[in-house]
């Protein structure tokens, strides 16, 4: 099962689209924005370069979660690879759990690269007591999005999963305030953001860098989303693999 997880991760790293959209895009986007707005401060007095670190790391992690789950999974179901695995001794719960694990592993490059860019190019510095909860929460907090990806991949054909995953990813990023701070927009967007798991997810990070620690309410909301989307993914997976 470990080897399975390793090969899963390996194959995504060989996927050009994954590398461009998920690994490079957030870093480049961060560097551009941070170089323009980096010296400004947000309402709480945090430098924008740090604020954007959280936004772009969250965006990268979100994009990676969905990209490495939905489409590959739909393809494997359709191409018969899933059946090939189903006739090995690997239990069927292990297949989906491995997918989740591998997808989590694949979140790390974008998280770490954006952080590295922030430190090296923007001179962002934080005590270890902030880095650790920041990276951990942004890492573990991807579970609901991976579950959403697997849900889409179990439900739709590969052709339909591609746009569906893209739309979800852009909607979550935009409406969750990862691209533009919702405080800067306000109004209905702000209300809408509170319904997005992505907003609460990124809010974990924003609170950490503001020195507030992890906000309990956001943690609970992200966990709730993980339970709901995880349940939906498990249900769709069972439906997709059920023996007629």
């Amino acid at each position: 099962m470990l080897y399975y997880a390793k090969t899963e991760a390996l194959r995504m790293l060989r996927n050009r689209r994954y590398i461009i959209f998920v690994v490079l895009f957030p870093v480049v986007f961060y560097l551009i924005n941070a170089n323009i707005y980096g010296d400004q401060k947000d309402a709480g007095g945090v430098r924008m370069s740090t604020y954007l670190l959280v936004s772009m790391a969250a965006y990268g992690a979100l994009a990676s979660s969905m990209m490495s789950s939905a489409v590959p999974w739909a393809q494997e179901r359709q191409s018969g690879w899933l059946r090939q695995l189903q006739i090995t001794p690997l239990p069927s719960w292990a297949i989906i759990v491995t997918k989740l694990g591998a997808a989590m592993l694949l979140v790390l490059p974008s998280l770490l690269l954006v952080s590295a860019a922030a430190v090296l190019q923007q001179g962002v510095s934080m005590p270890a007591g902030q880095w650790l909860p920041l990276l951990l929460s942004l890492w573990i907090g991807t579970i609901p999005f991976i579950a959403l990806g697997l849900f889409i991949g179990s439900l739709l054909s590969a052709d339909a999963a591609q746009p569906a995953a893209m739309i979800c990813m852009f909607a979550l990023s935009l409406l969750g305030g990862l691209w533009f701070p919702i405080d800067a927009i306000g109004g209905t967007m702000r209300t809408l953001a509170h319904f997005m798991p992505s907003y609460h997810y990124a809010n974990l990070g924003w609170n950490v860098i503001a020195g507030n620690g992890l906000p309990m309410s956001d943690v609970l909301i992200v966990v709730a989303w993980a339970v709901v989307l995880g349940g939906a993914a498990a249900y769709a997976y069972r439906r997709a693999t059920v023996r007629a």
Binding site: Y3, R11, G80, Q86, T88
Partner: protein, 294 residues
């Protein structure tokens, strides 16, 4: 204990009856061909054996267990009728991935040798030709050293040369006392590469035995002549004859013994036999006779 048992197994998809009350058993160590035309129910039977489909009625067992239990114990390996590989992985990575999921797999080198892939280990799956991918799929099927190997039309997409080598590999694998069941459309393939042939058509077993027995049963030879206006009655009673067809004044007698049939025709009847033609053991004819809609 039998390797494979079907006990009054039926499978329907809505109102299509794909497998119709099939009962059979296969001893361990045998290589058996499942022969039938398109839509006969071959893939459905194989998928039930692997636990990918559940029978609508009856039970399937493998080494005395349910198919799912046998799969979980690593006793099953299969080449399904359709299936693609993961494009980004190399041949070696794919084989290793599957090997490591089984409790007692074959050695990598042995698999590569059996599947004739030694030169392609590093090749990525998306750069393989159709026949090469088939070989990789064979490698994945045997990777876990399964006691029962199921192959669903394994030589589709292979050229003549690859087919020959493929069957050689299959024999090599079966030689270790393993049970092999393969589905095919061709009587010739079934004849050459199996100990026993089970012919299915429209979901039912229509013949079962060695290839030689089946050929004899359906009358491997044909005697054809112009009957004209003469009555056909009694032709089916001639020695050796298994079936009689009369069309456009021409009679075709299927027979398992040409000499006896001819002797009977000339000495035992008063028919005026003209334009006599004999055709040898035409395997495809025999197969068609068996599986044709009756």
């Amino acid at each position: 204990m039998n390797a494979i048992v079907f006990d009054h197994v039926s499978k329907d998809y809505g109102d299509v009856l794909a497998v119709d009350d099939v009962s059979l058993s296969i001893e361990p160590g045998k290589t058996v061909a499942l022969l039938g035309p398109n839509g006969a129910g071959k893939s459905t039977s194989i998928n039930m054996l692997l636990g990918l489909l559940r029978p609508s009625r009856g039970t399937v067992s493998v080494f005395g267990r349910t198919p799912r239990q046998a799969v979980a114990a690593g006793q099953m390996g299969a080449m399904l009728q359709s299936g693609q590989l993961i494009p980004e992985l190399s041949v070696k990575e794919l084989i290793d991935l599957v090997r490591k999921l089984y409790p007692e797999p074959l050695d990598l080198d042995e698999i590569l040798k059996l599947a004739d892939l030694t030169d392609l280990v590093k090749r990525r799956a998306n750069k393989l030709s159709g026949g090469q991918s088939q070989r990789v799929r064979f490698a994945l099927a045997i990777a876990g050293a399964p006691k029962a190997l199921l192959l669903d039309e394994p030589t589709a997409a292979m050229d003549v040369e690859s087919r020959l080598r493929f069957w050689e590999s299959m024999r090599g694998y079966a030689a270790g006392g393993r049970t092999v069941l393969f589905a095919t459309h061709y009587l010739e393939e079934a004849d050459e590469h199996s100990d026993r042939v089970i012919v299915i058509a429209r979901g039912k077993v229509v013949a079962d035995g060695t290839a030689a027995q089946i050929k004899a049963d359906v009358g491997g030879h044909a005697v054809r002549f112009t009957l004209g206006e003469q009555p056909a009655a009694g032709l089916d009673l001639l020695p050796g004859v298994t079936a009689v067809e009369v069309a456009a004044g021409t009679a075709t007698l299927r027979t398992s013994d040409t000499d006896a049939t001819l002797a009977g025709l000339y000495r035992g009847t008063t028919l005026d036999v003209r334009d006599l033609q004999l055709s040898g053991a035409d395997l495809e004819d025999a197969f068609l006779a068996l599986t044709r809609e009756s």
